[in-house]
């Protein structure tokens, strides 16, 4: 078998290529595109929410519709937008940063994506028949008694996409541990890789709790179990625990890789090595560790008692310490550096004060006694949007600007990038800063309307205006993407004069990444070589055959099967014949897994001679 790389293909061939790909760079694009679509859907939902709250006693959407909008906005943004963006960035950058040709389990990488994708599609199909409406936290008994099938779509959609995430987490763990290039010791890994490692650990231990919680809720809603039904002896506090044992680490799952990419971006665009590298690594691990001990701070008003509340309050405040270490290290890295204010750097610099504000309100909320005042008001809404938009969304924009050349071979237009930044940045603070005060004035979250005369009119109007600014920023970014793909300039291998391994190979990289595995001789390996006048990596091995995995359609089929099964399970309550659909789905999944385990899949080799021929193209 030789290298079958057809260059210019028809649409059908390209589609088939993406449906079957196991290449981490293409999977990154898949994650990015589907995450982007879900991000737009979630953004549209947010805009509708803000329009409803623009003026008092508004009737723009019905109260039931409003509940669906807030539920789907939260669920979509966390599970279907932020998560795939994180996975897109991890997929494009991590294997390249450690000098690997692919991830440890290319097949599972693809499976993880397709499970996520079908879960997300299932969840969003609920819009046709009534979307989930019990809030993204789905507290029982509100969620278990919610009529219609909305919450069933929530349960099964998240179950399927959650399985995909877990698979992705294990994959990146093994990749980072086993696939590093010679010389790439743990303490030489770029910080993005480090944070990807810790995030994967968090995924591994957090998602099973969600899996169980969703199973219990499914059993309650669809099969008559009584986990959360007090009349049967059930206890809904169990759901709150399971949800937040998952839910709090989830916050760190999202934000840690963002911390990592900011570290890489800041050191690149300050032309300095990262200040306090080992302290940064330590802080990352510590945040991951503490992240598992604070979940009950979401439940201060549940009535767990003063002792439990105190313990969780203190643990929560402790997280401010490693986070503070990071903030200062970023500042010190920039201090005295040769700073280039590119679009990526602009988002990064804006992130620091924005996220820090979210951190401050986090410590305020951590004070259990004070939290009784803040709980379920717009103060909380403001807090977590400062953390998630000011942290994760800013980070994703920065990361996309930074790695776009590596993903697509073209540099996103810098001018348009900055033009997108300003309305988004201003709009973000307009929208959410005022919400702190709305919350302190007593405006509860999740309410459909507020009344005139409550003194909340102006604040809400400002907030809504801000949302339109953010929309404008997003649209400019989209325009930038389109313009760049049509007539953007071709990127060189190293357009940012960067420091890490991914910039030592062409943009976009050949499908085998590294023709010869590089030899790593220090932290920021490419920079080390530049300083010593080499300018490129020394290979660690002679040119030889490269082993590559085969494409496969099986991941798509496994995921399709679970999608069909989910649909059948949802509707078997109405008509037991749907059970056959569920069983059919299960059989598709199991059958595909069976084919996978019975068929030998050894991959193929790219021969040395072919590589030598192609050598002309790379540098």
């Amino acid at each position: 078998m030789s290298t079958a790389t057809a260059q210019k293909q028809g649409f059908g061939a390209t589609l088939w290529d993406y449906l079957t790909t196991v290449d981490h760079k293409k999977i990154a694009i898949l994650y990015l595109v589907s995450g982007g679509i879900f991000f737009l859907a979630g953004g549209l939902e947010a805009l509708l929410i803000r329009i409803q709250l623009m003026v008092p006693d508004n009737n723009f959407v019905s109260s039931g519709m409003y509940n669906q909008l807030i539920t789907m906005h939260g669920t979509t943004m966390i599970f279907l937008a932020a998560m795939p963006f994180i996975f897109a960035l991890m997929n494009i950058a991590v294997p390249l940063q450690i000098g690997a040709r692919d991830v440890a389990f290319p097949f599972l990488n693809s499976l993880g994506f397709w499970l996520f994708f079908f879960g997300g599609v299932l969840l969003n199909l609920s819009w046709f028949t009534g979307a989930p409406d019990a809030g993204w936290t789905a507290y029982a008994p509100l969620s278990t008694t919610s009529p219609g099938h909305g919450m069933d779509f929530y349960v099964l959609g998240l179950q399927i996409s959650g399985a995909g995430t877990l698979i992705g987490g294990i994959n990146f763990l093994v990749t980072i541990i086993n696939m590093r290039a010679p010389g790439m010791t743990y303490m030489r890994m770029p910080l993005f890789t480090w944070t990807a490692l810790v995030t994967s650990v968090l995924i591994l231990f957090a998602f099973p709790a969600l899996t169980v919680g969703l199973f219990l809720m499914m059993f309650d809603r669809l099969f008559g179990a009584g986990f959360f039904d007090p009349t049967m002896g059930g206890n809904h506090v169990i759901w709150e625990h399971l949800f937040w044992i998952f839910g709090h680490p989830e916050v760190y799952i999202l934000v840690l890789p963002i911390f990592g990419l900011f570290s890489d971006i800041i050191s690149t665009f300050s032309k300095k090595r990262l200040f306090g590298y080992s302290a940064m690594v330590f802080a990352t691990v510590l945040i991951g560790f503490l992240g598992f001990m604070v979940w009950a701070h979401h439940m201060f008003t549940t009535g767990l008692g003063p002792i439990a509340n105190s313990i969780f309050a203190i643990a929560t405040m402790a997280i401010a310490v490693p986070t503070g270490i990071k903030i200062f290290n970023w500042l010190f890295t920039m201090w005295g550096g040769v700073i280039r204010m590119t679009a990526a750097m602009l988002w990064t610099v804006a992130f620091i004060p924005s996220f820090t504000l979210g951190g401050f309100t986090g410590v305020m909320l951590a004070a259990a006694a004070a939290d009784f005042q803040y709980h379920d008001t717009y103060f909380v809404v403001a807090h977590f949007h400062y953390v998630i938009v000011g942290g994760v969304v800013f980070g994703v924009f920065a990361g996309l600007h930074y790695w776009w050349p590596k993903m697509f071979g073209k540099i996103l237009d810098e001018k348009l990038g900055k033009l997108a930044f300003w309305p988004f940045f201003i709009g973000f603070h307009l929208t959410f800063f005022i919400q702190h005060f709305l919350g302190l004035m007593g405006m509860p979250r999740r309410y459909w309307v507020f009344h005139s005369g409550d003194g909340l009119d102006l604040g809400n109007l400002i907030s809504t205006i801000g949302a339109f600014f953010m929309t404008l920023g997003t649209l400019i970014f989209l325009y930038n993407v389109i313009i760049t793909s049509i007539k953007g300039e071709k990127a060189s291998a190293d357009p940012w004069d960067a420091r890490t391994l991914e910039w030592s190979i062409p943009s976009p990289p050949p499908f085998y990444n590294f023709k010869q595995t590089p030899l790593v001789r220090g932290l920021d390996p490419l920079w080390v070589e530049k300083r010593q006048g080499n300018g490129k990596m020394t290979p660690a091995e002679p040119l030889g055959d490269i082993h590559m995995p085969n494409n496969s359609f099986i991941p798509f089929m496994i995921s399709l099967g679970s999608f069909v099964m989910g649909y059948g399970l949802i509707y078997q309550v109405d008509d037991s014949r749907w059970l056959f659909v569920a069983i059919a789905g299960l059989l598709i999944t199991l059958g595909s897994m069976f084919v996978r385990s019975v068929k030998d899949d050894l991959g193929y080799h790219i021969h040395k001679e072919d590589l030598e021929e192609k050598g002309a193209g790379s540098e």
Partner: protein, 208 residues
């Protein structure tokens, strides 16, 4: 790296740890152990739920419900199956494919009889005590925890049988050795979970 992987291993010419001789094997080994770490949390969530809901809303409490004879037999069967799968891996390391298959076959038989007894046990609770999945929160939690374990046993059986049938004709090689090894890890983990189930659910249920 690829075609050699399919060559049948012969004693005296091949690595002692065939499961970790290739990079794919090493990756599988590590990834599967990590997966087991995640499974630990999964079962802990189920155990926690069970403990919080034990006896809640049920007419028949755990103390009268459970009998120990059957559970004892099931425990011994599953423990023994753990030993037989160790034997299988022992023969794998000695590259003795036939004996490995034999011991795996015994493991499967033991696992299947465990599963049969578990189904009988559930039947018994349902018919004698009307203790069902939907009768109370206790019932839901009990069948979910023990049923999840039973589901793991069933999946493990299907997995091992698939491996045995698939490779019956071609023997042990570097491509399938990691698969066998990982399947045996899974089987041991099932036993680990059962040790906690018989202790926490049955014995502690009996003590009250």
């Amino acid at each position: 790296m690829s075609d050699e992987q399919l060559q049948t291993l012969k004693p005296g010419q091949s690595p002692h740890e065939p499961e970790k001789a290739t990079l794919e094997g090493k990756n599988k080994f590590l990834g599967f152990w990590f997966f087991l770490g995640g499974e630990t949390v999964l079962f802990a969530s189920l155990f926690g739920t069970y403990l919080a809901l034990k006896d809640k809303g049920a007419e028949t409490k755990a103390q009268e419900l459970f009998g120990l004879e059957l559970v004892f037999i099931m425990t011994i069967i599953l423990l023994t199956s753990s030993l037989t799968s160790v034997y299988a891996i022992y023969h794998m390391k000695n590259l003795d494919f036939k004996k490995m298959q034999l011991w795996l076959g015994i493991t499967v038989l033991l696992g299947a009889s465990f599963l049969g007894l578990e189904i009988y046990e559930f039947q018994h609770y349902v018919h004698e005590y009307h203790h069902t999945f939907t009768s109370s929160a206790f019932g839901s939690a009990f069948y979910t925890l023990v049923g999840f374990h039973g589901g793991h046993v069933l999946f493990g059986l299907l997995w091992i049988v698939t491996l045995m049938v698939r490779n019956a004709k071609r023997g042990l090689n570097l491509y399938n050795a990691p698969k066998y090894y990982v399947a045996s890890l899974y089987w041991h983990f099932i036993d680990v979970v059962w040790v906690f189930i018989f202790t926490v659910v049955y014995l502690m249920g009996k003590v009250g």
